[in-house]
């Protein structure tokens, strides 16, 4: 009985450490910016950093916990970004900015979730490399579809076409989505709350963490992890592999959609070319280097790897070289058996010292 309580409190303690870490980072950044120690360049990176953190944590749910390699994460971010930006533009004059943003986030998440289900049903029949290839293709298809889409609004309602002329807007109508030019001016719609976007981003990170951590440590989360560890055994104890793989995929897609919403609303210019497979790979790099199935690791890796290229601008030509070295070092630190042993020894010694102190 005592053991059980210990294990339960251990996981919840772990969860709280992650929340506390995010909040602590937020406070430090706020303090730095209040005292004027944060350059304009770095300030501009804060919201994108939140975007990538949410994307990495949500991708970890699929890659780390359901054990499927998905390379289409950017596609879900794209869907969330465009659907929410479209909503924000259409209701720019009818709703005040705060409820509009909240609705935009919910819509972005919902649309991305629907796409998650639609893509997940056929894709999750595949395994391993095949699943990775198909999700990669899906991301590209979404990107190319949105690239040719034109959407406008006039008094007759919403018009959708594949060319600017095809919209047939009435006089006074407004073009919102302009194909490859994307959606412009979303950020200006939120001028009044622009300063709070970092705070909003951090809150969204905390909500994402809350959802993923609590899910993983629940009945459904156990089912998801069991399908990763052994499909056949999972079915033999009555766990539906398809159902739980799809659940993880859909929730992950919805959260990627949220990341997309934040991204879209922070920019004056939303272009589909951002959401190419490089973005999916980038987020996957954060997940893998942070430790598969390790949410806190995902956050730390995202911060280090996202801030690094910017901080290294002073080194100009050597920038990418140093970046690559850091990537390799992190990979070794996280995955090499010798490094893992070393880390666990250090941890044990620290714990041992604490116990000795307590005993003394």
């Amino acid at each position: 009985m005592a053991d059980m309580k210990k294990s339960m409190s251990k996981t919840s303690k772990n969860n709280y450490i992650t929340y506390a870490m995010v909040i602590a980072i937020f406070i430090v950044v706020q303090a730095l910016s209040a005292t004027g120690n944060l350059s304009r360049l770095l300030t501009g990176l804060l919201v994108p950093l939140c975007v990538y953190t949410i994307a990495a944590v949500s991708l970890n749910l699929v890659v780390g916990f359901s054990g499927e390699l998905s390379l289409g994460h950017a596609g879900f971010m794209c869907v969330g970004a465009y659907s929410s930006a479209l909503f924000s533009s259409v209701f720019a004059d009818t709703l005040p900015s705060v409820p509009r943003l909240i609705l935009a986030i919910l819509i972005g998440a919902a649309v991305a979730a629907v796409f998650g289900i639609l893509i997940g049903i056929p894709v999750l029949r595949l395994r391993g490399d095949y699943l990775a290839i198909v999700t990669l293709a899906f991301g590209e298809i979404i990107k190319n579809l949105i690239n040719v889409l034109y959407v406008g609004v006039d008094e007759n309602g919403l018009h959708v076409a594949v060319s600017s002329a095809g919209l047939n807007l009435a006089a006074g109508g407004k073009q919102i989505m302009k194909g490859a030019l994307g959606i412009s001016g979303t950020a200006t719609l939120y001028k009044d709350i622009k300063d709070y976007f970092f705070l909003i981003g951090v809150i969204l990170i905390l909500i994402t963490l809350f959802i993923v951590q609590n899910l993983v440590n629940s009945r459904s989360g156990r089912a998801i992890t069991s399908t990763r560890d052994n499909r056949i055994a999972a079915e033999s104890v009555g766990i539906s592999v398809t159902k739980y793989k799809l659940m993880a995929f859909t929730i992950s897609a919805a959260l990627a959609g949220v990341a997309g919403v934040l991204y879209a609303h922070n920019l004056s210019m939303l272009k589909v070319s951002t959401f190419d497979y490089n973005l999916s790979i980038l987020v996957l790099v954060y997940v893998v280097l942070g430790g598969i199935g390790n949410l806190r690791g995902s956050i730390i890796a995202t911060i280090i790897l996202y801030a690094l290229p910017e901080l290294l601008r002073g080194f100009s030509t050597y920038r990418m070289l140093i970046y690559a070295v850091v990537l390799i070092a992190m990979m070794l630190f996280n995955w090499a058996p010798a490094a893992r042993n070393f880390r666990s020894r250090i941890l044990e010694r620290l714990r041992g010292n604490r116990k000795k102190k307590e005993a003394a």
Binding site: M1, D3, M4, K6, S7, M8, F210, I211, N214, L215, S218, R219, S220, G221, R222, A223, T225, S226, R228, D229, N230, I232, A233, A234, E235, S236, V237, G238, I239, S240, M247, G293
Partner: protein
């Protein structure tokens, strides 16, 4: 009525009839053994019983209910649980979570309740923890509840697999070579455990085994399978002294 009633069970893989006209009738609470040379089709019978393969012919009845051709999940819910010849645990999950995964359909609460930590989550998790620890205690694994399943020694992994199967609250337990790879001490302990499970949970158990000491020690009835067909069936002592069985499997 028998707990498990199988009639004329057959499966054809291309030109090979891996199991041909298999039949068995196991009474409730019986410890039943399935033996035979390698490649005789024993594991295939298990895979047919648990819905991994769909039979070409035949009928499977569990406690009177026709479960022929149902999916693995439906069959587990109907009341058959199994272990595997090559251990299949959830290696990266804790020992406790392995058993709790087995309790998946026993204590339900919605995914939303799990995320939002509603009262139903705490209630169900508490019950699951208690039940899982109880099972782990039966198998002597309560001390290792927090270990990763893959870090357990071999013999304990076998036991954990049985504990996980028992967590699904089955009517019939299928054990596929539970003593494979165990030393004599571990096997002796395993025999005690299997006996205990049968007596304590009033369980019907069908097991595949090559270890004749275990088979003759605990099985009350036997079926011998050879080339996919039933060679001999009956009380353990009679079967093991049958000349046909001796030629085909045991050796002079």
């Amino acid at each position: 009525m028998a707990m498990l009633e199988v009639n004329n069970l057959s499966i054809q893989f291309g030109g090979l009839r891996a199991v041909d006209g298999f039949q068995v009738s196991i009474e409730k609470g019986r410890l039943y053994g399935l033996i035979g040379p390698n490649g005789a089709g024993k594991t295939t019978v298990f895979n047919l019983l648990t819905g991994v393969y769909k039979p070409t012919e035949g009928v499977i009845r569990l406690d009177g209910e026709d479960i022929t051709g149902k999916s693995t999940i439906e069959i587990n819910r109907a009341g058959i649980a199994r272990t595997f010849q090559n251990i299949r645990l959830f290696g990266a999950m804790s020992v406790l979570d392995n058993v709790k995964a087995g309790l998946h359909n026993d204590h339900k609460y919605s995914t939303l309740a799990g995320i939002l930590r509603l009262p139903s989550y705490f209630k169900a998790e508490k019950e699951m923890n208690e039940k899982a620890m109880e099972l782990l205690r039966v198998f002597g694994l309560d001390g290792e509840a927090e270990y990763l399943a893959s870090n357990l020694p071999y013999g304990k992994q076998r036991k954990l697999e049985i504990a996980r199967a028992m967590a699904t609250n089955p009517k019939l337990l299928l054990l596929d070579e539970p003593a494979a790879g165990m030393n004599p001490n571990e096997t002796a302990e395993l025999m005690k455990t299997i006996h205990f499970v049968r007596d304590n949970f009033d369980m019907t158990i069908l097991l595949i085994e090559h270890d004749m000491k275990l088979v003759s020690g605990i099985c009350e009835e036997l079926t011998v399978l050879n080339f996919g067909q039933v060679l001999c069936q009956g009380k353990t002592a009679e079967v093991l002294s049958n000349p046909q069985v001796i030629t085909a499997y045991l050796g002079e």
